[in-house]
């Protein structure tokens, strides 16, 4: 934190611009932290608050607009690519799409505050054919809210943050405690992964060739293939496995009513 304050103070607006732009295009950088540090630097007189805010908003709008345009022309292939960079590729697009289902275009106002959705919202809006002017208005409002929230936090609590960083320096044992917390968090993360894999193990998986053989045999009448992709349908040229039926993952409870229980159901989501 202290290093970030120092960096912000020395490289000023360029660093704010670079960090915010990087986060906007999906890179794992702590833009919120940079904004808090920028706000604190502005409170200390090192930076001009209006210029710092304008720099951050401009960077975010450039990054978001870039993804919006790419989403418009690349469709789900861009969404898939961005999601491969996320912690949970399978739920990544679903979560963002679900947010659009629930909240519609206002998703763009709050997307920046929701990890995972923040990067996906602009390309999803692009792939959903949101008019550019509407996108720019909503994204400007959303970006301003986000930047004001974190920049304002740093501005208002500068003294507290400074005391906090001094405290960190004075108490070297805190580093050990942080390491301890990180180790605990890592153990929980491994436990989470273990449970996740355990869940996958209880669902039988079939290879493509095995399914193809069934479709060519007498068993084909017992086979139903479901396309449960969500992002795959953001591209008008999307293809699916021949004979498969689409169900909408975001509307599963309704979709289940139409499915037969006397058939073997094969699903794919990638």
């Amino acid at each position: 934190m202290n290093n970030l304050f120092s960096l912000i103070a020395h490289h000023e607006y360029v660093l704010i611009f670079a960090v915010v732009l990087s986060e906007a295009i999906g890179l794992p950088v702590p833009a919120a932290l940079a904004l808090v540090a920028g706000g604190a630097a502005a409170a200390g007189g090192t930076l001009s608050l209006p210029r710092a805010l304008a720099t951050a908003v401009t960077a975010m709008l450039i990054g978001d607009t870039l993804l919006f345009i790419l989403g418009r022309y690349m469709g789900w292939s861009l969404l898939g690519l961005l999601c491969r960079l996320s912690v949970n590729p399978e739920s990544c697009v679903l979560r963002s799409a679900e947010s659009f289902y629930k909240r519609g275009k206002t998703t763009l106002l709050i997307a920046k505050f929701i990890p995972g959705v923040n990067t996906m919202a602009p390309p999803l809006a692009g792939s959903m054919r949101m008019p550019a002017q509407q996108f720019l208005r909503l994204d400007l409002a959303g970006a301003s809210l986000y930047i004001l929230a974190y920049g304002g936090l740093g501005f208002l609590f500068r003294d507290f943050l400074a005391a906090l960083t001094r405290g960190f320096q004075a108490a070297s044992h805190v580093f050990g405690e942080v390491l301890f917390v990180a180790a605990i968090a890592y153990i929980f993360y491994r436990f989470f992964l273990y449970n996740k894999n355990k869940v996958y193990r209880v669902v039988p998986r079939v290879q493509v060739e095995e399914l193809a053989r069934k479709l060519e045999s007498d068993e084909k009448e017992k086979v139903m293939i479901l396309d449960v992709r969500s992002h795959g349908y953001y591209d008008a040229k999307a293809e699916r496995i021949k004979g498969s039926l689409r169900i909408e993952p975001n509307n599963l409870s309704e979709e289940l009513k139409s499915l037969p229980k006397d058939k073997d159901i094969y699903v794919y989501c990638t």
């Binding site: 079939v206 293809e239 689409r246 073997d264 699903v267």
Partner: protein, 44 residues
């Protein structure tokens, strides 16, 4: 998704590799029908 189906009493399986593996194996594909495409929310 398959797990949710199983919990609801369906005999569900997961296709390993999904449509990408299916395509790679040279199995038949078809275009997504427009009727499915229009289910999506759009802002146009």
């Amino acid at each position: 998704m398959a797990l949710q189906l199983r919990e609801q009493g369906f005999n569900a399986f997961v296709i390993v590799g999904g449509v990408a593996a299916w395509k790679k194996a040279g199995k038949p594909l078809e275009p997504v029908p427009p009727s499915d495409l229009v289910k999506l929310p759009t802002f146009a």
